[in-house]
C-alpha cells in the first residue's frame, strides 16, 4: 500500500485535472495557472540539485530554459508546420502528438549540453566566481538569441500554437496540461531517484566537503558534470513546455529576472529539500497570481478610506514590491527557508506510514 499511495494519488489528480479541463469545469485561466505551477516546480527542483544539494551558487538557470525552449519550438515548427522561414512541414502534422515528448527531450538534451559549458569551469572554480560564470552565461545566451535573425532575434519566435492545434485535431484533449503534468512528475521523480541513489549522494558529499569527498573516492568532476547536466537538462524541458504554453517566446523572457525567480523558489523552499522546492514553487506561483486580484482590492480599499490621493492608483507594479518584501521578511524569521534541508516525511514522521516515494 505504501508503495502505491503516491502513484495512485498522482494518477487520481492527473485524471481529475484532465477531466475537469476537458469538460470545461475549470476555465483556461486556472488551467494556465496549473501549468505554470508545474513549470515552476520543474525549475525550482532542478535548480535545487546544483544550488541546494551541491551547494553551489548558480544564478543563470533561465539560460538553459531559453535553450530548451528555442530548440524544442524550432524543431516542432520545422517538422510539423508550414513556416515562412522553414518552409513546408517535413512530417505530417498528425505525428506531432507522438513526437512531442521526443522534441521536448531533444530540447532538454541541448540544454544539458549547454550546461556542460558551465560545468567544466566549475571543476576549478567555486562559489562566487562560479556565480559570475553562470550570470555571464545567461547574458551570453540571451544576446546570442537576439543576434540570430533567422529565429526572430529580439522580436521573438512564434508558431507553436499550430502544434497544439494539430495535436488537438488528432484527439480532442487538453494536451498541454497533460504534457506539463507528465513532465513535472517525470522531473521530480528523476531528481528524487538521482539524489537518493548511492551514486547521487556524491553531490551531497561535495556540498559537505569537497576534498573529503574526493578522498573517499567520489569522482567530483564527474559528479559536478552530472549535476549540472541534469539540472540544466530539466530546465530545458521546462523551457520547452513554457514555450508551447505561451505559443510565443522572446529572449527578454529568459533574462536575469527569470533566473532570480528560480533562485527565489529554491531558497524559499530550503536548500536541499525536494518537497520544499515543490511547495515553494506552488506557493510562489499562487502568490504571483493571487496578488493580481488582491491589488485592485487594496486600491479600492485605500481609496475608500481616503488614505490615498485620488490621482494615484495602486498598480500591478506593486506586486513586484510586495513579493520581495514578503521574501525579505520570511528570510528574517525563517532564514533556512520553508523546509530547511528536510523532506516532508522528516518533519511529519507519521506520513512515512502512508507513503514511500523513491
Amino acid at each position: 500500500m505504501q508503495r502505491f499511495s503516491v502513484p495512485l494519488l498522482l494518477a487520481l489528480l492527473f485524471g481529475a485535472l484532465v477531466a475537469a479541463s476537458h469538460t470545461g469545469a475549470i476555465d483556461l485561466y486556472i488551467q494556465s495557472v496549473i501549468m505554470f505551477i508545474g513549470i515552476n516546480i520543474i525549475l525550482s527542483s532542478s535548480l535545487n540539485i546544483v544550488n541546494g544539494y551541491m551547494g553551489e551558487f548558480a544564478c543563470g538557470h533561465a539560460a538553459f530554459m531559453a535553450i530548451g525552449a528555442y530548440v524544442a519550438s524550432i524543431l516542432n515548427v520545422l517538422l510539423f508546420t508550414k513556416d515562412k522561414y522553414f518552409g513546408p512541414p517535413l512530417l505530417p502534422p498528425e505525428l506531432s502528438l507522438y513526437f512531442f515528448p521526443l522534441v521536448l527531450l531533444a530540447g532538454g538534451a541541448a540544454a544539458a549540453l549547454a550546461g556542460m559549458l558551465v560545468a567544466i569551469p566549475s571543476f576549478k572554480t567555486r562559489g562566487d566566481y562560479l556565480a559570475i560564470i553562470t550570470i555571464a552565461a545567461n547574458f551570453i545566451v540571451t544576446s546570442t538569441i537576439i543576434n540570430m535573425n533567422a529565429i526572430g532575434g529580439a522580436r521573438g519566435f512564434m508558431g507553436m500554437k499550430k502544434i497544439i492545434f494539430s495535436m488537438e485535431d488528432v484527439l480532442e484533449l487538453p494536451w498541454m496540461l497533460i504534457w506539463v503534468i507528465l513532465g513535472t512528475v517525470f522531473s521530480v521523480w528523476t531528481i528524487r531517484r538521482f539524489v537518493s541513489s548511492t551514486y547521487g549522494k556524491g553531490i551531497i558529499a561535495i556540498h559537505q566537503d569537497e576534498i573529503a569527498a574526493e578522498i573517499m573516492g567520489v569522482n567530483t568532476n564527474r559528479m559536478k558534470l552530472m549535476a549540472f547536466m541534469i539540472s540544466s537538462g530539466l530546465a530545458g524541458i521546462a523551457g520547452g513546455l513554457f514555450a508551447h504554453i505561451l505559443g510565443y517566446i522572446n529572449p527578454g523572457s529568459f533574462g536575469i529576472l527569470k533566473s532570480t525567480e528560480c533562485l527565489v523558489m529554491v531558497y524559499l523552499g530550503g536548500m536541499g529539500s525536494l518537497s520544499g522546492s515543490v511547495i515553494s514553487a506552488i506557493l510562489f506561483t499562487l502568490l504571483l497570481e493571487g496578488l493580481r486580484f488582491v491589488i485592485p482590492w487594496i486600491n479600492t480599499g485605500l481609496h475608500w478610506l481616503h488614505l490615498l490621493p485620488d490621482a494615484y492608483e495602486v498598480s500591478q507594479v506593486w506586486k513586484w514590491v510586495i513579493i520581495p518584501l514578503i521574501l525579505v521578511l520570511l528570510m528574517q524569521f525563517r532564514p533556512e527557508g520553508i523546509m530547511g534541508n528536510k523532506e516532508l516525511s522528516d518533519i511529519f514522521p507519521r506520513l512515512k506510514r502512508w507513503y514511500h516515494f523513491k
Partner: protein, 304 residues
C-alpha cells in the same frame, strides 16, 4: 584612423569610470563581509534619482545662483543621502541575518530582493515616465584635431581615479582600513581585539554607497535620462567587472571596470552594437576560465 582610436579610448575611459565606481562598491562590501551586495546596482539608480531631486530642488529655490554652486551643493548631499540608503539596507535587512548566522547565500538572496524592492518601488511611486536630468553646468567641448572631449568626460575620468586613490589609501594606510581587512581575515577573532565590528561594517557600506551615489550623479549628468531599471544591467555588469578584477581587491575592481569599458567600446567600434554583450561577456568568461580567481585575486588554500 588614429583620431578615432583616441576618441574611442576616451569614450572607453568614461564608460570604464562608471563601471569602476560601481565595482568599487561591490568589492568593498565583498572584501569585508564576503557578501555579494546585489542591491548595489539599484543603489546607484537611487543615487541618480536622489541627485535629480536635490538638483531640481536647489535649481528651483536658488534661481540666481550659477550652476556650479548648485552642483557643489548637490554632490555631497547626494553622496550622503545615498549612503543613508545603503546603511538602512544593511541595518534592516543584512544585519539581523548576520546576527542569526544564516547561510551566506540567504543574505545574497535578501540583497537581490532588496534590489527588486528599490527598482519596482521607484517605478510604482514615481511612475513609468522617464525623468530628464536638469543641466547644471555648461557643456564645454575641447577639440584637438578630430578628437573632441567634453569637460564632463574629463571630470568623470578624474573623479574615478581620485576615488580609487582615496579608497586605496583608506583601506591600506589607515587604522579603519586595517580593521576592514582584519574582518575579512577572521570575523570571530576581530571583536575579541576590541574592534567594533558593526561600526566598521556600517563605514564600509557608507563608503560603497556614497561612491554609487557619486556614480549616479555623474552618470545622469552625462546621460540625462533616468529610468528605474537603469541600475539593473549596469550593476550586474559592474559586478562582473569586479569579479574579473578579483573581487575583494580595490585595484582589481578599478582595473576590471576599465577593462569592461574598453572591451565594450571596442566591440561597438568594430561590430554591430547588438553584439556588445555577447562578445564582452565571452571575453570576460575566457579570462575567468584561465584565471579563475580574477586578475588580482589570490587563490585560497584550504588546509586539510
Amino acid at each position: 584612423m588614429f583620431e578615432s582610436i583616441v576618441q574611442n579610448l576616451f569614450n572607453a575611459l568614461q564608460w570604464g569610470s562608471f563601471y569602476s565606481l560601481i565595482a568599487l562598491g561591490y568589492t568593498l562590501v565583498y572584501g569585508v563581509l564576503t557578501l555579494i551586495n546585489f542591491a548595489h546596482g539599484d543603489i546607484f539608480m537611487v543615487g541618480a534619482y536622489i541627485a535629480f531631486f536635490v538638483a531640481t530642488f536647489f535649481l528651483a529655490t536658488l534661481t540666481s545662483a550659477p550652476g556650479w554652486v548648485v552642483l557643489t551643493i548637490t554632490l555631497p548631499l547626494t553622496m550622503i543621502l545615498t549612503a543613508l540608503v545603503g546603511v538602512t539596507l544593511e541595518r534592516i535587512a543584512y544585519r539581523p541575518l548576520r546576527r542569526k548566522g544564516a547561510n551566506r547565500l540567504y543574505v545574497v538572496i535578501t540583497a537581490l530582493m532588496c534590489g527588486l524592492i528599490l527598482e519596482n518601488g521607484n517605478l510604482a511611486l514615481l511612475g513609468a515616465s522617464r525623468k530628464s536630468f536638469p543641466e547644471m553646468i555648461e557643456k564645454v567641448v575641447y577639440t584637438f584635431g578630430m578628437v573632441s572631449l567634453t569637460n564632463l568626460k574629463i571630470a568623470v575620468i578624474i573623479s574615478a581615479v581620485l576615488v580609487f586613490v582615496l579608497l586605496q589609501f583608506i583601506v591600506t594606510k589607515t587604522r579603519i582600513g586595517m580593521a576592514m581587512r582584519a574582518i575579512s581575515y577572521d570575523k570571530f577573532a576581530v571583536p575579541l581585539m576590541g574592534i567594533p565590528i558593526d561600526a566598521i561594517i556600517v563605514f564600509t557600506f557608507v563608503l560603497g554607497s556614497s561612491m554609487a551615489g557619486l556614480a549616479g550623479l555623474l552618470y545622469s549628468l552625462s546621460y540625462p535620462i533616468l529610468d528605474p531599471y537603469m541600475g539593473a544591467l549596469i550593476g550586474w555588469k559592474a559586478f562582473i567587472a569586479a569579479v574579473v578584477g578579483g573581487i575583494g581587491d580595490i585595484r582589481g575592481a578599478f582595473l576590471g571596470g576599465f577593462l569592461l569599458g574598453f572591451v565594450e567600446i571596442l566591440v561597438v567600434a568594430f561590430f554591430p552594437s547588438t553584439f556588445r554583450d555577447l562578445i564582452a561577456f565571452s571575453i570576460l568568461l575566457l579570462i575567468l576560465v584561465y584565471k579563475p580567481t580574477g586578475l588580482f585575486g589570490v587563490a585560497k588554500t584550504t588546509k586539510i
